[in-house]
């Protein structure tokens, strides 16, 4: 039981990282990026192609994937940018178009096969209070902590971060003050894509890689975002860990084949108990 919770929390950190990406885009551009999973999946395939196909070192693969993520995010943002100001759902629908194109691209470049992608880590583990902790888990924990601290320092301390916070709360005021909204948006999109890739590359070793796995893995990230609230960065970390633990327990004690259904019920429950996210406060005044 304890080890299930531990493992769940570790996977949950990865959901949290992916979820942070969704929230960054939502906070800056007020839209949902449904291509988030396809973008990360595409980059994971780049890693696979370089490390397994060309048999180059891992570092090259990861750097190439990060570069691809930055490029994809920039392309995606510049394609979507003119639509962000348009009515309601236009931009969100456009991201589905983007997702379709990437999905087709993955299929035509890498095929529909299921492949394995393992991290170059020795299988080392230790026992702590009866809990078996693997090196992989420590790496995930380390990377996740680093990312969260780095991201929060970035948003809290740097000029770009301050601009990001201003744009996300008062887009109009930010424009009046002469902040470049586009630059802030671009920053959010690129950061989001990088977060997505890191999560994808770290999660793939626990399962396998196919044209659909990363897209479905993103459902966990979406569920984490719903629980955390779409406008709360700390919320998505809590949400990710909760989703990780809950899905792990569910898969072990109930039925792993009903994962998506479980997530649907999980989302419903969280919408009912924490409308607007676990950290949101009920504001008086506006009904």
């Amino acid at each position: 039981m304890l080890s299930l919770i531990w493992q769940g929390a570790i996977t949950g950190l990865l959901y949290a990282i992916a979820s942070l990406g969704l929230v960054m885009v939502f906070k800056s551009s007020h839209m949902v990026n449904f291509a988030h999973g396809s973008m990360a999946g595409f980059c994971a395939f780049i890693v696979y192609m370089i490390t397994s196909g060309l048999e180059w070192p891992w570092l090259v693969g990861v750097l190439a994937a990060l570069a691809t993520a930055v490029a994809l995010a920039a392309i995606a943002y510049f394609a979507i940018a003119p639509l962000i100001t348009k009515e309601g759902t236009t931009a969100t629908i456009a991201t589905l178009g983007l997702g379709l194109m990437l999905q087709g691209l993955i299929l035509s470049l890498f095929g529909a096969n299921i492949v394995n992608l393992d991290l170059p880590l020795p299988s080392w583990s230790m026992q702590v209070l009866g809990l078996r902790i693997t090196l992989y888990e420590l790496v995930v924990l380390g990377v996740a902590t680093f990312i969260v601290v780095f991201l929060f320092l970035l948003i809290d301390r740097t000029r770009l971060g301050i601009a990001f916070r201003t744009v996300s709360t008062h887009a109009f005021a930010a424009e009046v003050c002469g902040l470049s909204i586009r630059r802030v948006h671009l920053f959010a999109w690129i950061a989001s894509a990088i977060l997505g890739v890191i999560a994808a590359v770290l999660i793939v070793p626990t399962t396998f890689l196919s044209s659909t796995t990363v897209t479905t893995f993103m459902l966990q990230a979406f569920a984490a975002t719903v629980i955390g609230g779409f406008d709360s960065l700390p919320g998505s970390i809590i949400g990710g860990i909760l989703v990780g633990i809950a899905t792990n327990l569910f898969a072990f004690y109930v039925a792993p084949e009903f994962m998506n259904t479980f997530l649907l019920v999980f989302i419903f429950t969280s919408l009912t108990i924490f409308p607007g996210g676990i950290l949101s406060r009920r504001a008086g005044g506006r009904v």
Binding site: A283, G284, G285, R286, V287
Partner: protein, 260 residues
């Protein structure tokens, strides 16, 4: 309806409203009796529209009571208040550009129309009569503001000034008990404003509670029987137009400023 039942009208008692740390309304108590046209004035940001939103149920005040003819409205949703006969116009025109002018006005009857979902989808005879009747009422209301000729034009193609009158028609079409007008003359030219004054006088009745928020002082002085003045969320004066005009405090915060 006989005289005794005209009731107390709309009464607001000690309304307080805050957004975060910002106190928008501070202990505002006003009563709006039927048969009286009440004006509500004050500088920008005085809390007039927020007060309207509290009356119609779009905002929930932090404390205080609102009642209509003695019936407490606490916890009554905006939609239920619409059914009780509270109707309004908006500071910024809030019509659907996709609908025709007549359809926009018909929406004012939404709360009182009975036809259900089956009628909406199936060709049932009962639906036809309901649709005919509501269209008829809408055109009647439109002729009251002199716009019946625009009934079938899409609202998106009508001049903004005219749309204010369409909104007025929508607010009136359901024969409301309370009519709240949020800057009805904004964007109207002088002849349109003159028509508006005439229309408002025409629809005023012994039963109707009418409240007007307006920056056009001429209009307010012409049509209102009583005027309340808000400043920074606090009621600073109330009385007849002459009394309010003579009030030095009002002149200082509002009329004086407007004369500059």
């Amino acid at each position: 309806m006989d005289m005794a039942n005209h009731g107390a009208g709309l009464v607001a008692k000690e309304i307080k409203l805050a957004f975060g740390g910002l106190q928008v309304l501070n202990n505002v108590s006003v009563s709006f009796p039927p048969g009286v046209i009440t004006g509500l004035i004050g500088p920008n940001g005085a809390g007039k529209t927020s007060f309207f939103n509290c009356l119609t149920g779009l905002y929930r005040p932090n404390s205080g009571d609102i009642s209509l003819d003695g019936r407490a409205l606490k916890g009554v949703s905006a939609s239920r208040r619409a059914r009780l006969g509270i109707s309004r116009t908006f500071q910024h025109v809030a019509l659907s550009p996709e609908l025709s002018v007549a359809e926009n006005v018909q929406f004012g009857l939404h709360a009182s129309r009975k036809s259900g979902l089956a009628d909406a989808l199936l060709p049932l005879p009962s639906a036809w009569s309901d649709r005919e009747e509501s269209r008829h009422k809408a055109i009647e209301a439109l002729s009251l503001v002199g716009l019946s000729h625009l009934a079938d034009v899409p609202a998106g193609g009508v001049a903004p000034g005219t749309l204010r009158l369409v909104e007025l028609a929508r607010a009136m079409v359901g024969r409301p008990r309370v009519l709240l007008l949020d800057e009805p003359a904004a964007g109207l030219n002088s002849s349109e404003t003159k028509d508006l004054v005439q229309t408002l006088r025409q629809i005023a009745s012994r039963e109707l509670v009418m409240v007007v928020v307006e920056h056009d002082m001429d209009l307010i002085m012409q049509i209102c029987d009583v005027i309340n003045v808000l400043n920074f969320g606090t009621l600073i004066a109330a009385g007849t137009p002459a009394e309010v005009q003579a009030n030095p405090l009002v002149a200082e915060v509002y009329l004086g400023a407007a004369d500059d």
